[in-house]
Symmetry: C2
Subunit: 128 residues, 2 copies
């Protein structure tokens, strides 16, 4: 918590009650969350405020964008813990995928990779 509050402070942003609530909610729920999910976790914050806070967190790299298989944007706090996800299409469970291949892609394409999306969908062992 302190770590993230410092990022806000160091960038000249105020430590408001709403920002602390959103941060706390996302720290306690470390999985891909939509803006609506975040709003449900933080009673009494307007949706536009949730939107602006989460977008600020994203600019400050406090949260990261996650794309799953619908048209919503998800966000998740992943400090020092870069990972991807696999979603069960039957029960909806989301598991971590600790694999990344940006270095390989960098070598293969000669691009400097700055950003990537990598998510999986399937059937989990329990649902098979």
């Amino acid at each position: 918590m302190e770590f993230y509050l410092n990022i806000l402070k160091q960038n000249g942003y105020k430590l408001t009650g709403k920002r602390k609530l959103v941060l706390e909610a996302m720290l306690k729920n470390r999985r891909p969350l939509t803006l609506s999910d975040v709003q449900k976790l933080c009673v009494n914050i307007d949706f536009a405020t949730i939107y602006r806070i989460v977008n600020l967190f994203n600019e400050l790299d406090i949260v990261h964008e996650v794309k799953l298989f619908d048209k919503q944007q998800y966000y998740e706090i992943m400090k020092d813990d870069h990972h991807h996800h696999v979603v069960c299409q039957s029960c909806g469970k989301i598991d971590r995928v600790d694999l990344c291949i940006t270095q390989k892609v960098s070598k293969l394409t000669s691009y400097t990779i700055t950003n990537h999306i990598m998510e999986f969908k399937g059937i989990c062992p329990a649902c098979k």
Copy 2:
């Protein structure tokens, strides 16, 4: 072209002029296309029709969904040519990424993988 028309026929769909136009446009432009892109490539087709045709093609696995780094859905024909993409954030160029790790993810997570998203963004050699 014939190959795809047969898929439509075999599934009981009519071979209409509009469907042929959309198919032809997407065969000639094998890169991620938004519905608006497809509409621009096919003069005189209503957007709702483009929407329904591309969605039908998607259900029949004629096209595949591609997610890039904005909020639009892209579609691309990739028969026998599964690949991913890397987008240059400077010039917008899109290159292929011929790499896939669903087998590795399958082993790692014990899920049966049915679907995945994997896209990259960076700076291309020419823009460095």
